[in-house]
């Protein structure tokens, strides 16, 4: 055994990439295509430990079986953390097998949720509680949150349509209060703050509805990476199950949520599979799961993609029966021009 050395790998270099791929292959792992940075511990020219990250998710972390219990994982995670901090990412996530809880626990990670096969951990022990307080400042003070009977909706609202509005009305009419979580990840053509603004404007007449950012725990790139690769039509069942687990075991009890409603999804296979994961998991925690049939216009379901197509062509007359007043006003405004141009680009 020589003296091990911690190095950054050049992912653009074929030899480094091959060496990392071969090492991970020996550990029964693969190198995800989106890994943007990787580091390794080398000993006598061989990788004996490695890890990398994509965004704020650490990936491909492994130590060779002959070199366990030598603190090599701390080297790797320390290096990755340093690099992430320099990129101003303050909170990191790891997907790992439940048996690795101790290894990462010792490096400052705490579990968020665990399914039979996968555990999601993050490196800021107080982060979840802080998020709960940011959504509902009374949640942690209330003596018995279980007395609260809220309904939750999760919308991307890209942009907010009368189809969404219909779902919200159904929820508001049949429950004490409604939380709308707007998906936080900024990968949609309508930017996050705008999506939230239009949902707020389009629901402000409903007194028992509250619109909040979905944050990192609901369909974010961290908790559900494959959701944002919809085009590939691939869904990772693990990620869907884990997202459902986070909602059922952490979010619902913390915020007094007893029901989750979703719009029926006849079109998108990824969302349909996600709804299936929710349908399987939520009832086990006593959470009612309800699928609401889509509102139609001209015998066609109102969908955000239909709205985007019409908006791109600036067919405002046809948009009128599909979107609330605020959304229509926005789509016709000068502020919307660059967004409509981007949609045209994507449709091409």
């Amino acid at each position: 055994m020589g003296s091990p050395l911690l190095v950054d790998l050049e992912l653009d270099s074929i030899s480094d990439r091959n060496a990392l791929t071969r090492f991970l292959d020996r550990q029964g792992m693969i190198l995800d295509a989106d890994v943007e940075f990787a580091a390794a511990v080398m000993d006598e020219g061989e990788i004996v430990a490695a890890g990398g990250f994509a965004g704020d998710v650490l990936k491909g972390l492994a130590v060779d079986s002959s070199r366990r219990d030598q603190g090599l994982m701390a080297w790797i995670v320390g290096r990755l953390k340093t690099e992430e901090r320099l990129r101003d990412r303050r909170r990191l996530f790891i997907y790992t097998q439940p048996k690795n809880r101790e290894v990462f626990g010792g490096l400052g990670f705490v579990p968020i949720a665990t399914t039979a096969t996968t555990m999601l951990m993050e490196d800021r022990p107080r982060a979840f509680q802080e998020w709960v307080r940011s959504v509902d400042e009374f949640a942690s003070k209330r003596d018995d949150i279980s007395e609260t009977r809220r309904t939750a909706l999760v919308l991307n609202a890209n942009p907010f349509t009368l189809g969404h509005r219909y779902l919200v009305e159904q929820a508001a009419a049949s429950s004490e209060s409604v939380f709308i979580f707007v998906v936080d990840e900024d990968l949609s053509v309508f930017p996050r703050d705008l999506r939230i603004r239009l949902v707020r404007a389009g629901t402000e007449d409903l007194a028992n509805v509250r619109v909040v950012p979905g944050g990192p725990y609901i369909i974010s790139r961290s908790t559900f990476p494959t959701y944002f690769l919809k085009e590939s039509r691939v869904i990772n069942r693990e990620h869907a199950a884990l997202d459902a687990e986070v909602f059922a075991s952490r979010i619902a009890p913390a915020l007094g949520i007893v029901r989750r409603m979703v719009g029926e999804e006849p079109l998108c296979p990824v969302t349909a599979a996600y709804n299936q994961a929710l349908a399987e998991r939520l009832p086990r925690s006593g959470i009612t799961f309800e699928v609401v049939a889509r509102k139609e216009s001209d015998r066609e379901p109102i969908s955000a993609s239909r709205v985007r197509r019409l908006a791109a062509e600036e067919r405002y007359d046809e948009l009128q029966p599909l979107v609330p007043r605020h959304t229509l006003e926005f789509l016709a405004s000068a502020e919307a021009k660059p967004i409509l141009a981007r949609i045209r680009e994507r449709l091409r």
Partner: protein, 98 residues
Amino acid sequence: MKILRTAVAGTLESSDVLITVRNNPEGALTLEIESVVMKQFGTQIRRVVEETLAELGVSAGIIEIEDRGALDCMIRARLQTAISRAGGNDVEPWRSDR
């Protein structure tokens, strides 16, 4: 000394500490401390950090401490390094502790 940009010093190894310092646009000084020995030494760690920041004349920034049981001198050294790295080119190179 001013924190102009994000800087990191230290490691996550046992008996060390990983310190991140960043510019705080709101101008306040914020400390976030996590430690494996928080219950026993949390107050002590906070005091060492506050003293060191005062000595360096740092009055604004976000300071994140991820402690793995580092001794006081280690915390002080890592913090000094992080702060000098965050200071840009107008900072003199570090010479000696005292």
